[in-house]
């Protein structure tokens, strides 16, 4: 699981799209697509450094403009209706997820495909590697799939001697740069047109035109060759209909059509919560997803996969495999956190999030999924305890809830996860501190003592010194002037005098009346 670098061409390299990759010098090793060390640096330090990265400010400005243009967080009456329906549909399966997964399995098998259930990333990787081995696969093409990011599939297949090419334009860009996606739907949202021009130029070993059409044509020409040459197509799944076994994939580039129809073998990878009750629900969920993700009424392509090639059909794979991955999700069922499983991966909460925008996208979250949804999903999946600090990387402003097409109460879920984090043994000191705070502020005298202490500190100690004392004041004072502590309790003193005057006036008026 360490072979994820964009090393030189191996003997017998077959990919056209990746030819020349050895010329690219990745410049952000901390954003690399491989597994993130469990003991990474603390988030405050990672995010502090992220603010100084060259692309952070332009990315912020681009995302903020997008947020304003799209009026993220507001919904037209038509989409608001879809939102209510979509929110209900997405919770329907959560009441009995296993039942729907069984139904889906039956339907998909009737369509002639093979279903594999995987509890862990390792199991999912092993299944896919076995399929690749058994079919002598040397080149795989992929359409966008966050589930495969979650299991770090590319690195694993590379280690098995399989070249893997990302065919979604944004995914192709981050693959070349050896970075993980910075956004669920727009993996390369943190890259400017110039960044992409430079990257493709390095790949080609020549100066390229920076016109968007030329850049797209450059990628298309190279990718087309790989669609033809690949033995294996790997796709994600946006929705899997339990009643018909249909796997729905939503794209704007049509690459999923190619991935699912050209290679001999197609492996679709989904996580458990992607199942939906009925094919007809796509009529609600697809337009809802498109509105939330890209403000389109509907995406350019909707790929509906109903099994492998049948007799008499001119294209389609000989084999279709569906891998259904859990990775900790079903543990959330029956708890308040299960709502995170309603997510349809539109990425709207990320665009809406001022913290995500400010740190330049998803990378500083140091998880496969960044932004608000990442902060609630990441602690749930993978090893226990991993990413448990992520829920603190939020100002709880609530923009994500307004932006969510299926109404996941992300701020409430973040607060729940914070409580989980603080109940762990490692948070003993914090617990003791808050306990003391609670005991003091549970009495009027304790609170007044706090006010008096603050006032005394404000009067005796210069701000320079106060700013250096351990505690929250130090964080505050980094970049901000301290509030005037010497005025602590001033309002109460003023009110006492005011109230006396008021009472005296009332008494006088009473006598006169």
């Amino acid at each position: 699981m360490t072979e994820h670098s964009c090393g030189g061409p191996t003997d017998g390299q077959r990919s056209t799209a990746l030819a020349g990759r050895e010329r690219i010098r990745p410049d952000r090793p901390e954003w690399a697509a491989g597994e993130i060390p469990a003991h990474r640096r603390p988030l405050p330090l990672i995010t502090r450094d992220a603010l100084t990265v060259r692309t952070a400010r332009p990315t912020h400005d681009r995302l903020a403009a997008l947020n304003e243009e799209r009026h993220v967080g507001t919904w037209t009456p038509e989409v608001a209706r879809l939102r209510e329906q979509g929110a209900a549909i997405r919770r329907e399966t959560l009441t009995d997820l296993e039942k729907y997964l069984q139904q889906l399995t039956g339907s998909v098998e009737r369509n002639g495909a093979v279903v594999h259930r995987a509890g862990t990333p390792a199991e999912a990787r092993a299944v896919i590697a076995r399929i690749a081995r058994e079919n002598g696969v040397r080149l795989a093409v992929k359409s966008k799939s966050m589930a495969t990011e979650e299991i770090h599939l590319n690195a694993h297949l590379n280690a098995e001697g399989v070249e893997v090419v990302e065919t979604d334009l944004g995914e192709y860009i981050v693959q070349l740069a050896d970075e993980r996606p910075s956004h669920i739907v727009g993996p390369a949202l943190h890259k400017s047109r110039q960044d992409v021009t430079d990257l493709f130029g390095q790949l080609a070993g020549a100066e390229l035109s920076g016109e968007p059409e030329d850049l797209a044509a450059f990628a298309r020409t190279r990718l087309r060759a790989d669609f033809k040459a690949a033995d294996l197509g790997i796709s994600g799944v946006n929705f899997a209909a339990a009643d018909t076994g249909t796997l729905a994939i939503v794209t704007n580039e049509g690459n999923a059509d190619m991935v699912t129809s050209q290679p001999r073998v197609h492996v679709a990878v989904m996580t458990v919560e992607k199942v939906i009750p009925r094919f007809a629900d796509l009529g609600v969920l697809v337009p809802l997803l498109c509105d939330a993700a890209t403000k389109q009424r509907v995406s350019v392509y909707q790929t509906l996969v109903n099994g492998p090639r049948r007799a008499g059909e001119s294209d389609g794979p000989e084999q279709l495999h569906l891998v259904i991955l859990d990775n900790g999700r079903t543990k959330a069922l029956g708890t308040p956190q299960e709502e995170v499983l309603a997510c349809i991966r539109c990425g709207n909460c990320q665009i809406s999030c001022p913290v995500y925008r400010t740190v330049g996208g998803g990378h500083p979250y140091s998880a496969v999924y960044g932004g608000p949804i990442g902060a609630v999903l990441s602690p749930l999946i993978g090893d226990p305890g991993t990413d448990s600090d992520l829920p603190f990387l939020s100002s709880l402003c609530g923009a994500c809830y307004d932006a969510c097409p299926v109404k996941i109460p992300i701020p409430d879920l973040l607060v729940n996860l914070r409580a989980q984090h603080e109940s762990a043994p490692a948070a003993g000191a914090a617990r003791a501190g808050w306990r003391a705070w609670g005991l003091a502020w549970r009495t009027g005298a304790g609170f007044r003592a706090t006010l008096a202490a603050a006032r005394l500190a404000g009067r005796l100690l210069p701000d320079r010194l106060l700013a250096r004392l351990p505690g929250p004041g130090r964080g505050w004072a980094a970049g901000r002037a301290l509030p005037p502590l010497r005025e602590a309790g001033a309002f109460r003193r003023w009110f006492r005098r005011y109230d006396e005057r008021r009472a005296a006036t009332r008494k006088r008026d009473g006598r006169q009346g």
Partner: protein, 253 residues
């Protein structure tokens, strides 16, 4: 509802001020202004001395037990009143949103929180006869919990709109979080401050006399940043602006 209708609503008899811990510790100005504006409305607001904090900092830091204990206490202390007014938009929103999440409230407790108002809500509901005049210009920063949890984007702006002579200019991203976020400001100071700079730049671009908001937390954070190193923007709490705009009623001699 027309203003006349609102004015006709019976005014609550006993009104308490919920200062908020921040008001007691470091933002007394908005609390005092609230008392003065309410006095001009003929409301003799009371100040329960035993009050401390609603518990929001504890809950948002992951300590629901401490938060629940403080919430119980808050409910006891304010129970005797017909209405509670606070200059802290976030605390009002917190009480409304989390009462049912932290506790199974009695009908009386539910009613108490339903009658807990953020400053501009109370003034717009019961202060229609106030005459307000102040020349100058402001831009309004929507504090997150007032705008999103309580859904109050219009009411504070309507109140600003009632001040004769005042120009209100909307800044870009007026409802984007300023980066305060309670303990977030101390846990992630660099991100928090970068968010303040974005907000202050937007406000500075409007060139108004004041950035006005209805939350002391946002204002402490923004003014602290502006004073230390940020764009030169002056901040003012909505209650202070309204207090400064009070026109003494012409009492016949």
């Amino acid at each position: 509802m027309t203003e006349a209708d609102a004015g006709a609503r019976p005014r609550p008899a006993r009104v308490a001020l919920f200062t908020s811990c921040m008001g007691d510790l470091a933002a007394g100005g908005p609390a005092r202004a609230t008392v003065e504006v309410l006095a001009a409305m003929g409301v003799a607001v009371e100040l329960p001395r035993a009050q401390t904090c609603c518990g929001q900092p504890a809950l948002n830091s992951g300590h629901p037990a401490e938060a629940g204990a403080l919430l119980d206490r808050w409910l006891r202390i304010f129970a005797p009143y017909d209405a509670v007014v606070t200059p802290a938009g976030s605390c009002a929103a917190y009480l409304h949103h989390h009462l049912g999440r932290l506790r199974a409230p009695t009908p009386e407790q539910r009613a108490l929180v339903e009658h807990t108002y953020e400053f501009s809500q109370f003034v717009m509901a019961y202060g229609t006869e106030l005459r307000l005049r102040l020349s100058g210009s402001v831009t309004y920063h929507d504090s997150c919990h007032l705008a999103r949890t309580l859904g109050e984007r219009r009411t504070p702006r309507q109140l600003l709109g009632r001040i004769e002579g005042l120009t209100v200019r909307e800044m870009a991203g007026c409802d984007t979080c300023c980066g305060f976020g309670g303990t977030f400001a101390a846990k992630f100071p660099d991100v928090s401050v970068a968010m303040a700079d974005t907000k202050l730049r937007s406000a500075a671009a409007e060139g108004t006399d004041w950035l006005v908001s209805a939350d002391p937390g946002c204002l402490l954070h923004l003014s602290g940043r502006a004073r230390k190193a940020g764009p030169p923007v002056r901040t003012r709490h909505l209650a202070e602006l309204v207090r400064d705009a009070l026109v003494p009623s012409e009492v016949p001699a």
